[in-house]
């Protein structure tokens, strides 16, 4: 699939918007205005590249908590992200019941996951099963960190998808760290994509800082999945630029020099250069994007700050879909 110039610029815009929202979340946390933030800074290119290969709103997505850029591509609004950080009532994922960044968005076929990593992979396998049973041409994207590929659960889900040739694409966002544990303590193979060969599905490793390279890899995988040719595992290699979450101080386990070195491959920088090289992104266009992003973030924060919290009694429901008495 050839991307139009406008689409390529739009992809950069999604990355930029995600970055600015994410950065503001850190500020809000340091200001004491929100309780928790978990960041996707450094991972935007892989997420946007993947999202643009999907039929958004038609295909299913079982994301993980660093997928802010992916969610924005699926139509999640900046103000909805801010509502979620602040635990406000009209937040669409759960009305303040679920942690921030544990997305769910019925209107975009996005299902919620728990804080227990890799569980979304089995859900994706089940969704793939349902798609196949219904003879639909949808696909499922399940995303996860490289640390999650150590979970037994992950093997169960991927094995099953491979055995039954289900239309699932597993996106491993290999950001080199599972909280503080580096990738070499997580796996004995050099690449998470290598894990695929023992499970009998295609495994592809791609530069996760290049949004167009990821998009290309995904387009092929989606096409195969849609035409009944089964699952693919795509590993996007990247670097987690921020600490794990707002509760983590990464200075205790990695040097500042290491982080600075990796910032040279910051996806915003990498893709800006690609677009500048192709004569698409001019200084004035970039400036316009930056000011648009700032305005959108400001408005989102302002909106969310004024939005009401849930009433205390709302904690009691909806535990069941049907009426259930406890007496």
């Amino acid at each position: 699939m050839t991307l139009s110039d406008e689409t390529r610029l739009e992809m950069y815009w999604m990355m930029l918007l995600s970055r600015r929202l994410d950065e503001r979340a850190w500020v809000l946390h340091r200001q004491g205005k929100i309780a928790f933030h978990i960041s996707g800074i450094g991972q935007e290119a892989a997420q946007v590249g993947a999202a643009y290969a999907l039929r958004r709103g038609y295909d299913w997505v079982a994301p993980y908590y660093r997928d802010l850029a992916l969610m924005l591509c699926l139509g999640y609004e900046p103000r909805e992200f801010m509502l979620s950080l602040m635990g406000k009532r009209e937040e669409p994922s759960s009305g303040g019941r679920q942690m921030p960044s544990h997305w769910s968005l019925r209107r975009a076929n996005v299902v919620s996951h728990s804080a227990v990593v890799a569980t979304q992979c089995s859900h994706a396998t089940g969704i793939g099963l349902a798609i196949k049973m219904r003879r639909e041409d949808k696909v499922v994207l399940a995303s996860l960190g490289e640390g999650s590929t150590s979970q037994g659960e992950w093997y169960e889900a991927v094995n099953w998808a491979a055995v039954h040739q289900l239309p699932v694409i597993f996106l491993v966002e290999n950001n080199q760290y599972a909280i503080s544990v580096p990738v070499e303590k997580q796996m004995a193979v050099p690449s998470a994509a290598d894990r695929a060969c023992g499970l009998g599905l295609r495994g592809v490793a791609v530069d996760g800082s290049d949004v167009f390279a990821v998009h290309q890899a995904f387009t092929e995988a989606v096409e195969l999945a849609r035409s009944g040719k089964g699952p693919t595992l795509i590993e996007a290699k990247m670097y987690r630029i921020t600490p794990h979450s707002s509760d983590d101080d990464d200075r205790t386990y990695r040097s500042r020099e290491e982080v600075e070195e990796h910032k040279k491959r910051d996806p915003l920088l990498v893709n800006r250069r690609i677009l500048e090289r192709d004569g698409l992104l001019t200084a004035s266009r970039l400036e316009e994007m930056e000011s648009r992003a700032k305005k959108m973030v400001d408005e989102a924060v302002q909106y969310a700050e004024q939005a009401p919290y849930p009433a205390a009694e709302e904690a009691a429901y909806p535990v069941y879909a049907e009426e259930v008495r406890h007496d």
């Binding site: 299913w60 769910s104 049973m133 094995n159 069941y320």
Partner: protein, 323 residues
Amino acid sequence: MARITMREAISQALWEEMERDPRVFILGEEVGVWGGTYAVTKGFYDHFGPERVRDTPIAEAAIIGAAIGAALTGLRPVAELMTINFAFSAMDHIVNQAAKLHYMFGGQMILPLVIRAVGGGGRQLGATHSQTPDAIFAHFPGLKVVAPGTPADAKGMLKAAIRSQDPVLFIEHATLYQTRGEVPEGDYIVPLGKSTIQREGRHVTIVTYSKMLEISTKAADQLAKEGIEAEIVDLRSLRPLDMGPVLESFKKTNRAVIVEEGWKSYGVGAEVASRIYEEAFDYVDAPIKRVAQAEVPLPYNRTLEQMALPQVEDVIKAVKEVL
């Protein structure tokens, strides 16, 4: 009304629901070609085909996880766990996912999922194959946990479970499959979350469910010969727990024995007794007694196993202690 076994009743409910609703499908280990470890789905594979009666890899977490995924898209999976003991391998999906997704989605999606699991001891299958961990699952809001004690209830409640909008853990006792009883034919539904008085009496209330209904009934038969009339309340559902008939009966008899197959500590009996004390304290004429499994991993040897499981004599003794 036909007199059929519990196995036939469960099988009938599944068959009828699959005929009625194309969204219903079965997945689990050995459910297809082999017909299920306890032969509940025998003949299903040939009739409904490999897609709707799906043999899965040996991967309990993925079985329940995939069933959750399929349910989120609007299908109605009935996942079979070969035994409830294997539910521990799928614990995260049962208690962290199935029980919580509706809430964590803020009600955006429903999870119409049934997990059928074979529970209970008495078949000399050893400690990790014979447990009755029902109370553990009933602890979690968001799940419905049911365990029928008669073939009629098994049929009616399984049909209700499949039609429920919420995830249901449906526990079938391993030693009840051959139990026979009258079962209404056709579309017979028993609502979930309703306990019932199975036998009337005026001297003591026995609260029980599942296999222990059979043990308690035998105890009541013997007690009747001595002029002691026991009233038996079958809980049928552990969550939601319907205390109505329990309290109604207790207010009449003022004495209660609770009989469960699981361990006593933190168990069903503890919950029911607390509720009686909280809600009917003025009616209490004697301390409430609990009959339960000895606090040991269930042994293999038949004599040892039977020693550890609640017996008819244990129920009779407890009843006499509260009178």
